[in-house]
Amino acid sequence: MCGEIEPRVKEIVESYARLSVKTDTLRPEDDLFGLGMTSHATVNVMLALEDAFGIEFPEDLLRRETFESVAAMAAAVSGLTGPSLLAEPRSA
C-alpha cells in the first residue's frame, strides 16, 4: 500500500514543502525538516495530503514524526486510507 501512495506523497512534497534542494533526488527516508521544510510548509503539505487522499489527520498523528519524510507520511496516509480509497481519490 505504502508503495502505491509514496509517489503521490512525493508529488505533494514537491509542490508544497518548499525544500531547499531539488526533489528529483529525494529519497523516501530523507529528513524533510533537515532539507528546509518549515512549520508553515508542513501545514500546506498536511492540507494537500488531506485533500488528495480524502482523509483527515487525527490529532494524535499531527506530530513532527508524521511529516519528517515521504516514507513517514506515506505510512501515516496508508494507515488512514482503506484499499478502495486509492481507486477514487478526491481531486486536489
Binding site: T42, E50, E56, F57, E59, D60, R63, F67, A92
Partner: protein
C-alpha cells in the same frame, strides 16, 4: 483619524476594542473586524489596523477587538466555553456598532475569525461579509495549529487529554470539542447580502467553494498572505494590495451617504478581574509620552505596594505580549499588590511611529530607547527609576540596554537576543551610541549564520564564532556590562535557552561570575532545551511561574513599608494569586 480604545460587552467581563471613525461624527456604515485566534491573531495585527484606518478614511466606523479571554479583554483562555465566548464577543461587537446608530454592518474576519464571523453572519442581519483566508472549519484550524507546532518543535510532549497545542496557545478538550462543531460548509443560507472570499492560492479551500458557489459571493486571491503569515516577525510584509481590495469591495456594497453616529466614550478604568482575596484588578488604557504610545495600566483597586513593572511588546507582537503573557502577569501581579504598564513600542500594535521615516514594526529600532524612557516616566512620574523592566526576545535586549538610561530597580530579560544587525546601520548610519549591550553582527560573523559561508563550521564548532567575537571585541563581553549594571544596583534576571545563553556563558569570566554571585543581584536561569519565543506550554508556564515569583519576591513592598497608595495587605506569594483571575500559570507539580 486615530483609533479610540473602548470597553464594550458585559460590564463584569469587558472586551477591549479599537474604534476608528471618520472625522465629523458621521459614517456611511459600520465594519467589525474579527481577528484570528492565537498566532493567527498576533501575526496580522498591524495589517488589520491598516485596514481599519483605510476604511475609516473612506467614511466607515470600524471596530476591532480582542475576543473574551484573549489579548487585553477580560477572561482567560483556560475558562470554559471558549467558542461560545468568542462568538458572543462578535455579537457584542455588532451590538456596540449598532448602538452607535449604524444599521448597515459589514463583518470582516481573518482565519478562524472568518470562520466565527461566518457563523454569526448566518444568524442574519449582516449587509456584507468578508472571509479573508478563512479556516474552512474549526477542525481544519486545529489540524493546522497542531501541524504548525509539530513542524516547529522536536520532542514535543504528546497530548493525550484531547487538548491541542498551537504555537503560543493551548486549546482545552472542551474548546477542541466545540471548535469541531464550527464549520463554514455546514452553515445555511446566504450568510450576508454580499460576500467576499479571499483564498490563498497555495491552500485548498476544501468544501468551502462548493458551499458558497452562489451569485452574491465574489472570490479573490488572498494576495500576500504567505508573506504576512508564514514568516518570522522581521520578514513580514504587509498585504497592501489585499487591504486595498477589501476596502474597495466594502465601499462598493455600502451606502454612499453618511449619517450621524454617536461616538463612544474612550475607555476609562475598568475592573477586569478579582483576585481570590477580593482585590479588584483595574485596567486603564493610556497614552504614553509626547508621541502617544499606547499602553494599559493594571493596578489593584486598593493601591500598589512597590515599583511599577513595565512590560514591552516583543518584535511585532502587541502589548498583550508573547502568548498573552504580559496580560496574565499584569493581572496576577495586580492581585498581589503591584501595578504595571504594558505598552506597544513605537511602530508596533496601536502605537504611532516616532518619525515619518520609522519603519512599521521594526524591532530594535533606536527609537525604542526613547519609548522605554517615556514609559518609565509615565509609569513612575516622580521617580522613573522606580520601575522594573520586563521583555522577551528583542524587548528583552531593549530592557537590558535601556537599563543604562533608566537605571531601574530590576530587569527581567527572557531569551534576550543580543546579536543582530542594528537597523540604523542598514540605513548607513553608525551604531547608536546608546547601545552598550548589543553585539552588532558584522559581515564576518554573519558568515557563521544559517546560509552563510561558514555555517557548516558553526554546526561543527557551535561556540567558535562567539569565542572569536569575545576575543576581538572584549568591550562587548556580557560579563563587562553585567558588572556595570550590578554596580548601578540593577537586579537582573535572565532566562535563556542554549542559543540566547551562549553569549553570557562564554562572555563572562570566572572573576566576573564570582563577583555577580557575591552581589546576589544577578540571576541566570539557563534552560538549554528552551525553544525561542516561549510558545510551547510546557516551557512557558514554568517560566511564567519563575518570573511571577521572582518579581514578587524581589520587588513587592511588604505591607507597611513605604507603600505606594493604600496598603494593609500582607505580601501575597505567587501561588496565592492564581486561580480565578488568570490561567493556572503558577505551576504546581507541572500543572
Amino acid at each position: 483619524m486615530g483609533a479610540t480604545p473602548v470597553w464594550f460587552g458585559s460590564e463584569s467581563r469587558p472586551l477591549l476594542g479599537w474604534f476608528n471613525a471618520p472625522t465629523g461624527q458621521r459614517a456611511r456604515a459600520a465594519v467589525v473586524i474579527c481577528p484570528g485566534v492565537g498566532r493567527d491573531g498576533l501575526q496580522p495585527h498591524y495589517a488589520l489596523r491598516l485596514l481599519a484606518e483605510e476604511l475609516a478614511g473612506r467614511g466607515f466606523a470600524v471596530l476591532r477587538f480582542d475576543y473574551d479571554g484573549t489579548g487585553d479583554s477580560a477572561g482567560s483562555d483556560s475558562d470554559p466555553d471558549r467558542v461560545e465566548a468568542w462568538l458572543g464577543s462578535i455579537r457584542s461587537a455588532l451590538q456596540f456598532v449598532r448602538g452607535c446608530g449604524l444599521d448597515s454592518v459589514v463583518l470582516v474576519g481573518m482565519r478562524l475569525g472568518a470562520t466565527l464571523a461566518g457563523t454569526v453572519a448566518a444568524e442574519g442581519g449582516i449587509e456584507g461579509l468578508v472571509l479573508w483566508d478563512p479556516a474552512p472549519s474549526g477542525r481544519a484550524f486545529l489540524a493546522e495549529q497542531a501541524a504548525l507546532t509539530a513542524g516547529h518543535f522536536r520532542g514535543l510532549r504528546r497530548r493525550d487529554d484531547g487538548s491541542v497545542e498551537g504555537p503560543g496557545v493551548t486549546f482545552s478538550p472542551g474548546t477542541v470539542r466545540d471548535l469541531r462543531r464550527v464549520d463554514l460548509a455546514k452553515t445555511e443560507g446566504r450568510l450576508a447580502e454580499h460576500v467576499l472570499v479571499l483564498l490563498r492560492s497555495d491552500r485548498s479551500p476544501g468544501r468551502l467553494v462548493e458551499r458558497l458557489s452562489m451569485p452574491h459571493v465574489e472570490w479573490q486571491e488572498a494576495a500576500g498572505q504567505a508573506e504576512l503569515m508564514d514568516v518570522g516577525a522581521e520578514d513580514q510584509k504587509l498585504p497592501l494590495a489585499a487591504i486595498d481590495s477589501i476596502a474597495n469591495w466594502v465601499s462598493g456594497i455600502s451606502p454612499r451617504d453618511d449619517r450621524p453616529i454617536a461616538f463612544p466614550a474612550p475607555a476609562g478604568p475598568a475592573v477586569v478581574g478579582t483576585a481570590p482575596d477580593g482585590t479588584a484588578v483595574v485596567e486603564t488604557p493610556t497614552f504614553v509620552g509626547p508621541c502617544g504610545l499606547f499602553g494599559i495600566l493594571t493596578e489593584p483597586a486598593g493601591g500598589a505596594r512597590g515599583p511599577a513593572v513595565i512590560m514591552m511588546s516583543a518584535a511585532n507582537e502587541p502589548r498583550s505580549g508573547p502568548c498573552r503573557m504580559w496580560t496574565d502577569l499584569a493581572r496576577l501581579w495586580a492581585g498581589a499588590g503591584l501595578r504595571s504598564l504594558r505598552f506597544d513600542m513605537s511602530s508596533v500594535g496601536e502605537s504611532p511611529l516616532r518619525s515619518p521615516d520609522q519603519a512599521a514594526f521594526e524591532p530594535r529600532s533606536p527609537a525604542a530607547f526613547d519609548d522605554v524612557l517615556d514609559a518609565a516616566r509615565h509609569a513612575s512620574p516622580e521617580d522613573p527609576s522606580d520601575v522594573v523592566l520586563v521583555g522577551l526576545c528583542s524587548s528583552a535586549y531593549q530592557a537590558l540596554d535601556s537599563a543604562f538610561e533608566v537605571v531601574p530597580l530590576g530587569v527581567v530579560a527572557l531569551q534576550p537576543v543580543l546579536s543582530f544587525v542594528p537597523p540604523e546601520t542598514a540605513a548607513g548610519l553608525p551604531v547608536d551610541p546608546r547601545r552598550r549591550v548589543a553585539m552588532p553582527l558584522t559581515p564576518v560573523l554573519q558568515a557563521f549564520s544559517d546560509g552563510g559561508a561558514l555555517a557548516a563550521l558553526r554546526r561543527r564548532f557551535p561556540d567558535l564564532g562567539w569565542r572569536l567575537r569575545m576575543l576581538v571585541k572584549r568591550s562587548q563581553r556580557p560579563g563587562r556590562w553585567l558588572r556595570r549594571l550590578d554596580r548601578l544596583g540593577v537586579d537582573v534576571l535572565m532566562v535563556c535557552g542554549e542559543w540566547e545563553g551562549r553569549a553570557v556563558r562564554l562572555g563572562t569570566s570566572r572573576r566576573e561570575k564570582a563577583h555577580l554571585r557575591r552581589s546576589g543581584r544577578f540571576r541566570f536561569e539557563y534552560q538549554p532545551d528552551q525553544a525561542h519565543g516561549l510558545v510551547i506550554e510546557e516551557q512557558r508556564l514554568p517560566t511564567m511561574d519563575l518570573v511571577a515569583s521572582h518579581v514578587l519576591e524581589r520587588f513587592l513592598t511588604p505591607a507597611g513599608e513605604g507603600t505606594k497608595g493604600a496598603a494593609g495587605q500582607e505580601p501575597a506569594s505567587a501561588g496565592e494569586v492564581s486561580g480565578a483571575l488568570t490561567r493556572p500559570l503558577l505551576c504546581d507539580g507541572g500543572a
